[in-house]
């Protein structure tokens, strides 16, 4: 049975009248890439800060590696790597010195640290920039440096708080590949983001947060099954009559049909062979059609249906 790495139980965090975390619970197993998904202000960063004991909280309990997490749990902290939302490096240190500084907060053995620093530099692909100062690096390279600073000490649990904000697609892909590679080496990952595609691409399990609450949790397939829409069929077709549309609406699992004189959109909830049944109706009435698409729901649709709003509505 997989070990529980992180256990958050009934966490409540208030900022005055504002409830940032509202009885939030979570359990993350060893070897997972766990995605915390939610719009800005949903409580992702507050959760991370509470998890790391950077913030006090009003109620609840946090356990990491089976032990209660407190501000002085240094034996737990040594196995945690953190990559913060903002790049946290010293402008006065070079790339290598920065990684060495942060690694040195965990590893005191100089020889071992030098080896770890070299490995981290290689891992994020900053070999050509070791003597550069941060202000000479591009946004993408800075993010990579930020990651190297967080992982150099070889932690067992890595928390990445929106590590790809303001990063170009090439660097973003490299970062995501790196995270998956770390995970393959046995590291448990907590990944917060408001980018659906990233979470969908790399996370093995996802919790959706909104207004400090966990509104859904599961694998991406499990989440998609939670919503009414399971398949959206789009067919390019001209001159459909009301009788055909009525027949479409009567098909099993179809809960919505829209037609705008060019495109027929059939929304289905569950069931198999929905596309075949829709095409059969058109053929029966000898209606010719053009391109046909069948799309499974995205996490964005999941989020939209669960929370009633689009994930990026509230982006700062």
């Amino acid at each position: 049975m997989e070990n529980t790495v992180v256990k958050i139980d009934n966490l409540v965090k208030r900022y005055g009248e504002l409830v940032a975390l509202d009885h939030f619970s979570l359990e993350i197993k060893e070897g997972e890439i766990f995605g915390l998904l939610g719009p800005n202000g949903s409580g992702k960063t507050t959760t991370i800060n509470c998890l790391l004991s950077l913030l006090s909280f009003d109620k609840g309990n946090i356990e990491i590696f089976g032990r209660k997490m407190t501000p002085v749990s240094y034996d737990i902290k040594k196995d945690i790597g953190i990559i913060m939302q903002n790049v946290v490096v010293s402008e006065e240190l070079t790339v290598r010195e920065n990684i060495d500084y942060f690694c040195g907060l965990y590893i005191t053995d100089k020889k071992l640290r030098a080896q770890y620093v070299d490995e981290a530099i290689k891992f994020v692909g900053l070999e050509d920039f070791t003597k550069f100062y941060p202000k000479k690096l591009s946004g993408g390279l800075l993010r990579r440096l930020n990651i190297a600073c967080g992982i150099a000490h070889k932690p067992k649990l890595i928390i990445l708080d929106e590590p790809t904000v303001a990063v170009d697609p090439q660097s973003r892909n490299k970062i995501l590949e790196g995270i998956q590679e770390l995970n393959r080496s046995g590291v448990t990952i907590i990944y917060t983001s408001h980018y659906m595609e990233e979470v969908e691409q790399i996370c093995t399990r996802i919790a959706i947060m909104d207004k400090g609450r966990k509104v859904a949790e599961g694998t991406k397939d499990e989440l998609k099954r939670m919503i009414k829409n399971t398949e959206t069929i789009s067919i390019e077709v001209l001159g459909l009559g009301e009788d055909i549309l009525a027949e479409m609406r009567a098909l099993p699992h179809v809960y919505d049909v829209k037609y705008d004189e060019k495109m027929l959109v059939v929304s289905c909830s569950g069931g198999k062979h929905n596309l075949i049944r829709a095409l059969d109706v058109l053929q029966k009435h000898e209606v010719g059609f053009g391109r046909v698409y069948s799309e499974l729901p995205t996490l964005n649709e999941v989020f939209l249906e669960i929370t009633g709003k689009a994930l990026r509505d509230k982006e700062d």
Partner: protein, 393 residues
Amino acid sequence: MQVFKLFMKILKKNIFTSMIYVIVFIAISIPMAKSAAADKTFKDASLKIALFDEDGTAESGALREFIGRKHELVELADDKDKIMQALYFDTVNYVLIINDGYGEKLAAGETEGLFSTYHMHDSYATVMVSQLLDSYVSSVRGYAAGGSDLASAEAKAADAVLQEAEVTIARNESGGVLSSSSASYFRYLAYILVSVIISALCPVLLKLSKKEFRFRTNCSCMKSSSYTMQVFAGSVVFIAVVWLIMMVVSVIQNGGMFTGNAWLAVLNSLVYTLICTAIALVICSFEPSDTVVNLVTQIVGLGSSFLCGVFVPQSMLGSGVLAAAKFLPAYWYVKAVEMLGGSEKFDGSRLAMYLLIELGFAAALMLIALVVNRVKYTGAAIKLPKLAAEPQK
């Protein structure tokens, strides 16, 4: 020692501005000390005077000889343009023409129409020579009226007028344990210490206490106490080095090691260094930007220096200014320096009181910094969570 090393690296990058203060201070303080020493000698002023004798008598000759004994007689062409030019370019300070009939008029006791002159209006040279001539003529008349013949009256008058008094420069050095130049050095040190410590220490402390940076460090397994101790050690090393440099310069400037109670000035400067560090901590607790730090450095450095008598002795400041200055630590520092410099009688117990007041300021400032930091981090204060039995919604 990761944090200590980082402290030093950040300090290294920010030390340039502070070093300018130190270098300029050292460059200025040593010549100033030399000039202060040179001020102890007095030399009577000698002017360059061009003299035209239109009288040509023994009396006018005696006058020429009299003037030549005190001042330098300069040859000049008897041409008005050249005379004016010489006065303008300061190659001559005064042009004296002994009018025809001078001898007769002097013998007759007349004082009008003896001389014609060219001079710069209202110059000190004009006043000096006019007074000299008046004294001479009055003395000659006095001796002549007393029965001396004219020649001996002129000789006696010349001796009397040119008699030199022994001059000593009076200084308020009643029992000072510091030389006046050392006292000046230690006074100016109040400005330089506060400027250097704030301008160098604040940027480092601000960078190390930046919220994200502290959060990131708090995530690690480095103990908070270790982090604080390393920052403290870095600060102590820096201020100790600054203070030691200043003390080495003070010894060089003093011309040798301090002796006796002069060491109290060194102790006073050490206490003031603590105050400057505490001021830097208070400033940092408000997390100002670099621009604001520079501004505050100037305001605190120059403001307290002008108000508390760093640049001018406290005796020259108004009572209102001094009353306000008492609420600033620099006032007590300067007061101690002035006592050691001899401006007031040395009194060990009063000096101890000044030092204690300074220490009180340092403690109060440290307390303010602590309180501000505590208030600031209340929201992020780490406290152990309380368990709740409420079910999840």
